[in-house]
Symmetry: C2
Subunit: 427 residues, 2 copies
């Protein structure tokens, strides 16, 4: 029999308990022995739980798990940085293997955790940390291992994808769609980690390290969220044959990793453009395999529980058969992140200008002077002295664009630069 | 150092050689030691090869590999039943681990091969046998292991998907598209295994065994190919909001596995309907994870080479670190295949009838008498005494449909039943 201690009995923790119970027979078969939860850490012992659970299993003292010599595997599902990181490190020091869905901790401290695990002959599995139920961590570690992976694009946050889909399909504003997502349980009360792109940044950092075998500092990842996306932009995107998605991107370059999270225009016939609602996807390119795309629900109790429980099965099986998955993360190098202003991108720009002769000429001159060349221009007619003006640029250095926008802002006839959104045409 | 013997240096064998060479440094890092090809079996030593290869590596005597005590891993890429099966079994008896892309041998003899491998402490990996570069064998074995998988749908044959896409997009006939596929190297000179659905049947048999943990006899799988698909059917499908795909289906039932390969109408907004050209996809439903779909190129030198080489890396790593992946296939049960005439399906039917009053009434009566209820009827107006008549039925037992079609065929006014194609509405 193998003994589990679970840290946290919230959304995912409860899912794991349910799956371990429901599929117990089958899991026993796979592992070769029974897998039994012997302790669960919670914050509040008296809280009403939506699953039936033997009260004797619960504890509010982490030491009952971390320092429990009976426990083989610690499943960390508290979330957040501390005390989760501390509990993981101390459990490893005590020789326990770890299963976690904590993207923050893995993205930020992965290297230290893997080293500590190596020193202590422990395993660390984190399939649940990226894209919920979608199998991606292990495929990168094994089925795709023969490839040099060149780039990864992902929709890695279900909350923002739900909001953008809802805004676009139902012509809603951001605030309205956010509220809707919260009502439906797809967004948290404090949604900032999702909305502002940090959640996706942790996830793309994890994928990038595995795919390129280079660790980057998650704090260097350029992050831009979806708060500023207007339903006008979604409509204009649609008119021009695009959709807007919060995209996580990682490209392996010679000097560093181009890694970032930001809203992006994507051609509407691209497979990624079809991933709607709370679905996530990972789209990658390997030198041998070519393009591979996978999609599944990226969050939620059962999908994430599925990934976490799969890790539990794997680690339990390894322990039972005296095996140990060797990951060789020790050979991963540290890598720079390419600075965002060095990157070349296409841009969608929406300006509000006064309807006077000469405005366009002034703007065009500034673009020209700064090496910004235009792919298309759309001028919306309105019976109004204020006209919206939309540009899509060719590839330009971000710093050249920024310089021209700073100059354009100063033009008398330009009222406001409403939107600046990157366009991913060659995805 | 780990030593490989490769059986076969055709399309896939050459791909594996290329990848092992190109990514040698990276692979060495992953495995923890060098992986070296020391012998390659071919049929014809004098054949011109499209890769540069040291002639001393080649042999036309299989014993140089199978009975070579230096060789750790045998990579079987000859294809076909014999001598491939014999070589695999004898290599295992000699304690070697196997990597293969041979779907026929795994589908037909998997159980015996896995048992033999267990007895000899050898590993057998076959990621390349299904859907080329698409990671699916290992995800079923690990990332999705916590699920009860209920059903799998796949587009598992690139040749037929290319042909159907070409017929549909370019309004071509089957023969013309087949020839086009052959010219482009997407179909073999003898395309029957692809076209008639047998290739896909081997693959769905392999997926079904892993997903449901039940072995079925591949000879019991119902198989229907795409030779009879007319471009008229593709056009009518489009008019009614469907596409036609060669679908491989496996559903886990109480009494047996409903497993089959046949052309099917699929709603055109379903993700599977968007998989075009030589791409493959696997779409599955698990009780915890919900829907998961993956897509990649399902054949070809480099994608298949990617999968085979990934297996080589895994096995080599395991050997190097004294590990052994435990698959526990021994607990898989043998299972019946549900007889096709017991299955309920919707159908698309295209008839040619004489344009006389009463025909419809006669046909409708026969359907009614046989419990076949109709979802829609489409009558194409033509200035012609012969009119095409199209039906889509609700779910009916296949044997009820067959009985009514036999009766309808006998009607004086019915000239011919042109097409009978299953409709998968609740995919
Ligand atoms: N939710 C998802 O869909 C999802 C998807 C992918 C990954 N994840 C990751 O999975 C992890 C868990 O997420 P979740 O949504 O399940 O979180 P949650 O619902 O907030 O649950 C957290 C659990 O941890 C317990 N806990 C929190 N702080 C604690 C502390 N200091 N000491 C003891 N117990 C503490 C809580 O106890 P009480 O119950 O007593 O309050 C609760 O049971 C996070 O890393 C998250 O990023 C979640
Ligand atoms: N091609 C694909 O895209 C693809 C995709 C997925 C899976 N697969 C599977 O991969 C396997 C290999 O396919 P392939 O397309 O690479 O085949 P292939 O191009 O026909 O190559 C077969 C190789 O095996 C050698 N060979 C055949 N019979 C032999 C015998 N009796 N003794 C010694 N050598 C023999 C041939 O030698 P010569 O070179 O001297 O003729 C040739 O090098 C098959 O199981 C296939 O189903 C292929």
């Amino acid at each position: 029999m193998l003994k589990l201690g679970i840290l946290g009995l919230g959304t995912v923790g409860s899912g794991v308990v349910k799956i371990l119970e429901k599929n117990a027979e089958n899991i026993k078969n796979k592992v070769g022995t029974e897998v039994k939860i012997i302790k669960i850490l919670v914050n509040n012992l008296d809280k009403e739980r939506d699953i039936e659970i033997d009260k004797n299993l619960l504890t509010d003292n982490a030491e009952d798990i971390i320092n429990n010599p009976e426990i083989d595997i610690v499943v960390e599902l508290i979330g957040g940085e501390q005390p989760a990181y501390d509990y993981i490190m101390r459990s490893i020091e005590n020789g326990k293997s770890i299963v976690t869905a904590n993207k923050l901790v893995i993205a930020k401290y992965g290297k230290r955790i893997f080293r500590k695990a190596d020193e202590n002959d422990a395993q660390v599995c984190y399939e649940g940390s990226v894209a919920g139920g979608l199998p991606i961590i292990r495929p990168l570690q094994n089925s795709l291992a023969a490839n040099r992976i060149e780039k990864i694009y992902g929709i890695l946050n279900g909350t923002t994808n739900y909001i953008l889909t809802d805004m676009s399909k139902n012509k809603k504003d951001f605030d309205e769609s956010l509220k809707n997502a919260q009502d439906l349980g797809f967004a948290e009360a404090d949604p900032s980690s999702d909305i502002d792109g940090h959640d996706a940044a942790y996830k793309i950092t994890i994928l990038s390290s595995l795919a390129f075998e280079r660790f980057v500092d998650v704090r260097d990842v350029y992050v831009e969220g979806i708060r500023e996306i207007k339903s006008t932009d979604l409509e204009l995107a649609h008119e021009m044959g695009y959709v807007i998605k919060l995209l996580a991107i990682a490209k392996n370059g010679n000097d560093g990793v181009d890694i970032r999270v930001h809203p992006a225009f994507i051609p509407e016939d691209h497979p990624i453009a079809m991933i709607n609602g709370t679905y996530n996807c990972v789209y990658l390119h390997g030198d041998a395999v070519g393009q591979v795309m996978s999609t599944a629900r990226g969050a939620g109790q059962m999908p994430t529980g599925s990934a976490v429980t799969a890790d539990i099965i794997q680690v339990a099986k390894d322990i039972n058969y005296n095996q140990r998955e060797v990951q060789r993360m020790d050979s991963f190098l540290e890598s720079n992140v390419t600075k965002i202003d060095e990157i070349e991108n296409s841009f969608y720009l929406r300006l509000e200008v006064e309807d006077k002769p000469g405005v366009m000429a002034h703007i065009a001159k500034i673009f020209g002077d700064n090496n910004v060349s235009l792919a298309s221009v759309l001028q919306k007619q309105k019976d109004n002295p204020v006209v919206p003006l939309v540009f899509i640029t060719h590839h330009v250095k971000e710093k050249d664009l920024e310089k021209s926008l700073n100059e354009i802002k100063e033009l008398d006839d330009v009222i406001e630069i409403k939107s600046v959104i990157r366009v991913e045409n060659d995805i």
